[in-house]
C-alpha cells in the first residue's frame, strides 16, 4: 500500500525528534552537496544539475522539485566512512604506555534522499567494512535511510545498466518518489522496515490515489530510458582478466592525471592508509585512518619502492578491481553506475567509454 506525503517538513522534524542527525542534499558552493540539514527548507527545491564528463553546473528548474538532480560531488561514504577517523591513542606512563581505543562514535544519522545507486553502494561498502565492530559498523547499525527513486538522471548516470536504479531499493527504511507539478511537490512513500513504518505513523499522511501511484511508477520507468550511458551488462571479470596487456591502458594513461578524484568520489571505493601523530613532548600518540587511493604512488609501496609506478598500471588496477576482481572478492561489481567518477574527473575520463574500448579491443584481437 502506498501513502502520500504533502511535505517533507514533518519527516525531518520527526527524525530530529528521534535524535537523528539528518543529512541530505543542499546547495553550497555551486553544487548540491550532502550536509546536515536543520530543516526541510534547506533541501535544493527548484535546483537542477547538468553533468557531463569533467563538468557540473547548477541551474534553476521550472518547477520546485527537491530531488530533480543526480549524484553530487560527495557520496554518503563521507559520513559512514569519513575521510579521517580516529583509531586509538597511546599515552606514556611511568612504566611504559597505555593504549586507548577511540571512543565509539555514537552519531545516529538519518540519510534523506539516498538514490538507488547510492543505496546499493552502501550495501557494497557494508560487505567490505561492515563486518568488524568498528566505527563503520556502529554508524551503519544506527542509520535510518530515506531513499528517493530517480525520475531525472544526469547525462553521466548509467545505473540502469548496473541494475542499481533508477528505482531505489531494497535496503531503505522509507522509500520516496517525488511527484512534481509546478510549484507543488508531493511524495509517494513506501515502507521498507518496521522502523520506517513506526516513523511514518507519526506523519500526516493520506492514502495515495491509484493514478498517482501509476504516475510515479511510469516516471521512474521512464528515467531508465533517459540514460545515454551504459556499462556492458553482466560480469566483466573475463573482460578485465583478459585485458591485462591492452593497448587502451596506454591511451587512458596519456589522459589520466593520477589525481585520485575518481576514487575519492566513488561511493564504493574504500581504501585507507594509517597516519600516526605524536605530540612534541613525546607523551601522546594517535593513530588515524584516512582515505587513500590506488592512484597514489605510495599506495603500492612495498619494501624498496612502489609496485605500480606507471599511470597505465594504476588506472588498470582501478578499473580491474572495480569491474572485475571485485566479483571474486565480494561477489558483485564495485560499480553502481552513479557517474560521479565521470563528472568529477578534472579531465572527464569516462569509465563506460574506457570499458567499451576494452570490449572493442578484445573483440578485434
Amino acid at each position: 500500500m502506498s501513502t502520500l506525503l504533502r511535505s517533507l517538513g514533518p519527516l525531518v522534524r520527526a527524525l530530529h525528534g528521534q535524535g537523528y542527525r539528518v543529512v541530505g542534499p543542499t546547495v553550497r558552493d555551486g553544487a548540491i552537496v550532502l550536509a546536515e540539514l536543520d530543516r526541510a527548507d534547506a533541501l535544493p527545491y527548484g535546483w537542477g544539475v547538468e553533468a557531463a564528463p569533467g563538468r557540473y553546473r547548477l541551474h534553476r528548474r521550472a518547477d520546485a522539485a527537491a530531488f530533480g538532480h543526480a549524484a553530487g560531488p560527495q557520496s554518503w561514504k563521507a559520513f559512514l566512512h569519513p575521510p579521517r577517523s580516529p583509531q586509538w591513542t597511546a599515552d606514556r606512563t611511568a612504566d611504559g604506555f597505555t593504549v586507548t581505543e577511540a571512543p565509539p562514535d555514537s552519531t545516529r544519522y538519518a540519510f534523506l534522499g539516498v538514490r538507488g545507486c547510492d543505496l546499493r553502494a552502501i550495501a557494497v561498502q557494508d560487505r567490505v567494512l561492515g563486518g568488524a565492530d568498528g566505527g563503520y559498523a556502529r554508524r551503519r547499525r544506527e542509520l535510518f535511510i530515506v531513499a528517493v527513486s530517480c525520475t531525472e538522471p544526469a547525462d553521466t548516470c548509467f545505473c540502469a545498466s548496473t541494475g542499481c536504479g533508477p528505482a531505489a531499493g531494497p535496503g531503505y527504511d522509507l522509500g520516496l518518489t517525488e511527484l512534481v507539478d509546478g510549484d507543488r511537490v508531493r511524495y509517494l512513500v513506501e515502507v521498507g522496515t518496521p522502523a520506517g513504518l513506526e516513523l511514518l505513523t507519526q506523519l500526516p499522511t493520506e492514502p495515495a490515489p491509484v493514478d498517482l501511484v501509476e504516475e510515479a511508477a511510469a516516471a521512474v520507468a521512464a528515467a531508465a530510458t533517459k540514460m545515454s550511458r551504459a556499462l556492458p551488462e553482466g560480469d566483466l571479470r573475463d573482460l578485465l582478466a583478459g585485458s591485462h596487456d591492452a593497448a587502451r591502458w596506454d591511451d587512458v594513461a596519456a589522459r589520466c592525471l593520477s589525481c585520485g578524484n575518481c576514487t575519492m568520489v566513488c561511493p564504493t571505493c574504500f581504501c585507507t592508509t594509517v597516519e600516526d601523530v605524536t605530540d612534541v613532548a613525546g607523551e601522546h600518540a594517535e593513530r588515524w585512518l584516512r582515505w587513500d587511493s590506488c592512484f597514489d604512488l605510495d599506495f603500492s609501496y612495498l619494501h624498496g619502492g612502489p609496485v605500480r609506478t606507471s599511470t597505465r598500471s594504476r588506472y588498470r588496477q582501478w578499473l580491474t578491481h572495480k569491474l572485475g576482481t571485485w566479483h571474486d572478492q565480494f561477489g558483485e561489481s564495485g560499480c553502481v553506475g552513479c557517474g560521479r567518477c565521470i563528472a568529477w574527473c578534472p579531465v572527464g575520463i569516462d569509465i563506460t567509454e574506457e570499458t567499451r574500448a576494452l570490449v572493442t579491443e578484445a573483440e578485434e584481437a
Partner: protein
C-alpha cells in the same frame, strides 16, 4: 633520554618566509624548544653553537659560489638535512634566471655588477648535496613542519604525502572548482601538504608545493586550454614558484 638533539636553521637565497613559519608555530615552538637545543637560528637568536647538528633546516636556494661551499659544510655537519620551502627544494622564483641571461640582469639591476659574485643558476639544495627530507611550499605549511619535527623527535616517519592536492580537496569536502565552476587549477599535478587551501577559498591551486610524485602535466595543460587559459598565463603559472621542478617534470619514471 640523553642530551637534547640540536637543531640548526640556515638561510640561503630566500625571503625568510619559511623561517617565519617556524617562528609562527608559537604554541608548539615553546614545547619544541624544551626538547631540542636550537644551535643556530639567526631569525630567532644570535647565540650560535658549534656543529655537528642533529637536524639542519635549510631555507633558500643556492645562487652564489659561497652558497655552494656553505651547503657542503652544512651537510658535513648535519646528521639530517631538511630542505624547507620552494627555494630550497626547487630553486624558488629566483630560478627564473636559469632560463634567462643572468649577465643582463646583473648589468640592469646593479650599478657596479663587477662587485657581484653570483652563479648563472638558482638551484635547490639537492642539486649539491644529499637531502634527507623536503618540505615543499611557498611558504611551507606550519602543520607539516611541526609534524616533521615531532616525527624526528619520536623516531617515526613524517607525514609527507606525494599525492595530489585533489586528495586534500576531497578530504575536506571542497567542491572541485574546476568541474563545478570552470576555474583552472593546478591541484591535480601539485603535491599535497597545504590542506588544499586555495580551492577552499575558491581560487585555483597555483602549484606552490611543486609537482606531485607523479604528474601528467601535458594532459592538464590541455585541460587548462579548454578552460580558456591563455598560453601566456599557462606559461606563467607553471613558472612561478617551482619553475625548475615543473620544467623538469615529475612524470612517470617508467612503465
Amino acid at each position: 633520554m640523553g642530551t637534547a638533539p640540536t637543531l640548526a636553521v640556515w638561510k640561503f637565497a630566500s625571503c625568510d618566509g619559511c623561517q617565519l613559519s617556524l617562528l609562527d608555530c608559537e604554541d608548539e615552538l615553546l614545547a619544541i624548544a624544551g626538547r631540542i637545543r636550537i644551535a643556530h637560528f639567526p631569525e630567532a637568536s644570535r647565540a650560535t653553537v658549534e656543529g655537528p647538528y642533529d637536524v639542519s633546516l635549510v631555507e633558500g636556494s643556492v645562487t652564489t659560489p659561497g652558497d655552494v661551499a656553505r651547503i657542503h659544510r652544512i651537510r658535513e655537519q648535519s646528521r639530517l638535512l631538511v630542505a624547507i620551502g620552494a627555494c630550497a627544494t626547487a630553486g624558488g622564483i629566483q630560478a627564473l634566471r636559469n632560463f634567462a641571461d643572468a649577465d643582463q640582469f646583473r648589468s640592469v639591476v646593479y650599478a657596479r655588477p663587477e662587485y657581484l659574485s653570483t652563479l648563472d643558476t638558482s638551484t635547490p639544495a639537492s642539486a649539491h648535496v644529499p637531502v634527507d627530507l623536503e618540505l615543499h611550499g611557498c611558504p611551507i605549511d606550519r602543520r607539516q613542519l611541526v609534524d616533521t619535527l615531532t616525527a624526528l623527535l619520536a623516531g617515526r616517519k613524517p607525514d609527507l604525502p606525494g599525492h595530489s592536492v585533489c586528495f586534500e580537496c576531497k578530504a575536506r569536502g571542497t567542491t572541485c572548482i574546476t568541474v563545478a565552476r570552470g576555474v583552472p587549477c593546478l591541484g591535480p599535478v601539485t603535491r599535497a601538504g597545504c590542506g588544499a587551501l586555495c580551492p577552499a577559498y575558491g581560487r585555483g591551486c597555483f602549484g606552490c608545493f611543486g609537482p606531485a610524485a607523479v604528474t601528467n602535466t601535458p594532459a592538464l595543460v590541455d585541460r587548462l586550454r579548454e578552460l580558456d587559459m591563455t598560453e601566456t598565463d599557462i606559461g606563467r603559472v607553471f613558472r612561478t614558484f617551482n619553475v625548475l621542478a615543473f620544467a623538469g617534470g615529475g612524470d612517470d619514471p617508467s612503465q
